[in-house]
Symmetry: C2
Subunit: 479 residues, 2 copies
């Protein structure tokens, strides 16, 4: 227990300094290291394995929905980025630009992709000619760069990893359906795989993606009451396809512009996992993306038969789970806290007494409760506990989301909540972006997160200006 | 057959213009499209699916050997790249450089990674302290940029995708073992997965990687007698670790520099597949990486029961194989040549007559022979034919490699072979790089490929200068 304490002491307490707690966790759990490149992170093996598990799960979901993976160049000629006016205005301030290639000044500057709508459009122009070529449902997994002033591992980095889907459809209805289908895909993934509930809805005009007609968002609530934009899905109409002159011959032999979508999630999601599930003892990983699902810790491992039995159990479990047997010469106490800090969902303890009883001890990372189980059906027992860890994580996060959801009926109440109750605020809004600006200014950062699909009627008036309300908006501070 | 002919006519004949045949195949089989960015390619779904299959197979091999994946920044501060003298000299001429970020001129220019030895070293300095931290066996899958003047899809592009392994070891012996182990890993992968035989060996001083003590290479032979550097594995000694001041405390409590390796293969391998296996009818894909392993073509598909039976067969096969059932309204002739061009290893034809006989027809893409097989054990039959396609591809490629291996006993014979017999040339060499330069000049491009692990004794003298021979070298033109 002395060791255990020491390990936990290395992590700042969440309620003392949440930002420092976050930094401590990503460093001590060996998820990332800082690099010598400003704003760029090194994703270490344990962090990258989480990303690989995320990719594996999401990629299968995309493919089941008919999407195909491609790879586009990482450079965008400046003139190409400038083809769609709103888009370039949105991204120009945060671009990294290559001006030299092979020791020569380039005739045209190249932007390191901040997103790839323009590249996809340039390609789609070549390959879309007839309605038979539609829909095109492409996705790519890649790195992108957005020059950021202040950065934090996973949450905001100048370079990050993501997937970006870019699709083309015959008409508005099909494209709108795709936009919502992919938002739903993200929502399912967050719930089923990451054990994270979230608010979903439509962004206001002000918060939309540069060049989009409509942006939908998924917004999970972090432990400290700050929201995180966890993924977006955009409907573009035919804005880009007109700008890029992409046309196709429809079923009536008429020339038409296809309708477009794009959608993406990134390594940010690892930040969401940390800040949704983590606790005073460190990281807690949802079992489906945990690089190690079960840590087997031999107790009194020098005693005869202990390591052999631990090895046997490992062989049985690793057919189905990601397992680590730690037979190092560190103390069991150190091992317990080490794997707790690393967020391993289930710990399995096996010692001489357990072996005598043909049993072992399973410990849940969430409840930290110990359960003695028979070795006869150990795989089923582990499966059950992993499922319960997932369920408990989800229930806990849902409770947090509910507790951090307030309703503001008027301006004063809005300010009071913004000041005193971290979390989401439901409040009515007139539809004018000036009110969004004002609320953000007076609260020091509370912004509209989204207009949810089902809007409640809280009052008739905008919480800011008092004019007739157009929508109920969920507001909140954001990462 | 009219359709069949038309399709094949779209592809230039290999012996008329091999380079044009290659370009036709990559375009018509929809592997790539050219992008508006000079020297960068768009990898289309069919091409990218090959890369995904390659990644999946290789990644599992790396992990079985104990390697872990990480992700390093894509930018290298210029001062970091300059820390190892030979390394920066080798790469400086072909770098793309970011000079502007977020609309401001950068204080230090950033090089888009051409390779990541320097970034890995910078990180290893932080995390290696004791012999207990060794070995470190890291790998990353990423994009890299090397500014190229003349480019060709897959073979030479300014941006390409690859994996780069970077490992650190306690001593020279361990690092050298890793270097050779990974070369062997690549050799096994080429043989077992890509069905490609190759010459392997050590690069001469002149052809070594910038900064390496030793570079090993795998060199498959293309159909036209030109070699392709298909992968390299480098031993660095402690050159970088001294330059980066990476030290560890050894088992005797002494401060030591670790020894380093790196190794990589890239999307070039797709070029190797095309030029090793392709034929007059287009692409031929080795079954293990083919995005479609079996194309099911219904014959007289309007007749009752045909599409149903084709669907049944698909359900059975797709449990084990990557299957495409083409029930489009294109003619069967068009479909036959389409999937031949795309290199699908096995075609399955099913029509009313076959159904009556409870059989179907399997056609091998390599031999183009038709085999009537019973539907009762269709999965086994397909498995057998896929295996035979792999074996035939390997045997054919091996025959090509043997036929294109010549021996030159003296200077005149060397020039004669270089002029008249495309392929490898085995010849003795004194060890002086001036002779390499001279042979390259007089032949218009024949270079030393490698010093194989087993050297034959062809003569006592260097084929170029006549001085005593130090090694037998395999020479050849290269992509």
């Amino acid at each position: 227990m002395a060791n255990d304490k020491k390990m936990v002491e290395q992590i700042t307490a969440m309620d003392v300094d949440f930002a420092q707690w976050y930094t401590d966790v990503v460093k001590k759990a060996e998820l990332v290291d800082y690099s010598g490149v400003k704003g760029c992170m090194i994703i270490r093996p344990y962090g990258y394995a989480i990303w690989e598990n995320i990719q594996h799960d999401l990629d299968a979901r995309f493919k089941r929905l008919g999407h195909e993976n491609v790879y586009m160049p990482m450079f965008i000629p400046e003139s190409l980025l400038q083809k769609e006016k709103d888009h370039v205005e949105g991204f120009a301030p945060e671009c990294a630009i290559v001006t030299i290639g092979g020791q020569n000044k380039l005739a045209e500057r190249l932007v390191v992709r901040p997103t790839s709508e323009t590249l996809f459009c340039d390609h789609y122009k070549n390959i879309i000619h007839s309605y038979r070529d539609l829909p095109k449902l492409y996705n790519q997994w890649c790195n992108v760069v957005r020059w950021e002033k202040t950065t934090r591992p996973f949450l905001r980095t100048s370079e990050f990893l993501w997937q970006e889907g870019h699709t083309m459809h015959e008409n508005e209805a099909d494209a709108r359906e795709e936009t919502l289908k992919m938002l739903k895909c993200y929502e399912d993934f967050y719930r089923e795989t990451l054990a994270i509930p979230a608010v979903t809805g439509r962004k206001t005009e002000k918060e939309k993606f540069a060049g989009a007609m409509e942006t939908y968002t998924i917004e999970p609530m972090m432990h400290n009451g700050v929201a995180l934009q966890g993924g977006t899905s955009h409907y573009f109409g035919d804005g880009f396809t007109r700008a890029f002159d992409i046309t196709y011959t429809d079923r009536e032999n008429k020339i038409q512009y296809p309708h477009q979508t794009s959608w993406g999630v990134s390594t940010r999601m690892i930040g969401a996992i940390i800040m949704t599930h983590g606790d005073y003892n460190g990281l807690i990983l949802p079992p489906k993306v945990a690089p190690i699902q079960v840590a087997i810790i031999p107790v009194a491992q020098h005693k005869e038969g202990v390591l052999e039995k631990a090895g046997e159990i490992k062989s049985i479990l690793e057919a189905k789970f990601r397992v680590k047997l730690d037979d190092s010469d560190n103390s069991t106490g150190w091992k317990y806290s080490q794997y707790e800090m690393k967020g391993v969902p289930v710990r399995l303890e096996i010692g001489p007494r357990d072996i005598e009883n043909n049993s072992c001890v399973l410990v849940s990372r969430v409840s930290r409760q110990k359960t003695v189980v028979s070795l006869d059906n150990i795989a089923e027992e582990v499966e059950k506990m992993l499922q319960s860890v997932h369920d408990e994580l989800y229930a806990r996060a849902e409770k947090n989301l509910e507790e951090k959801m307030s309703i503001a009926h008027d301006y004063d109440e809005f300010l009071d909540i913004a000041q005193n109750r971290p979390g989401f605020i439901k409040a009515m809004w007139c539809g004018d972006s000036e009110c969004e600006d004002k609320l953000k200014d007076v609260t020091g950062g509370v912004k509209s997160r989204c207009i949810p699909f089902v809007e409640e009627h809280i009052s008739d008036k905008c919480v800011c200006c008092g004019k007739p309300a157009a929508h109920m908006v969920v507001w909140g501070r954001q990462y």
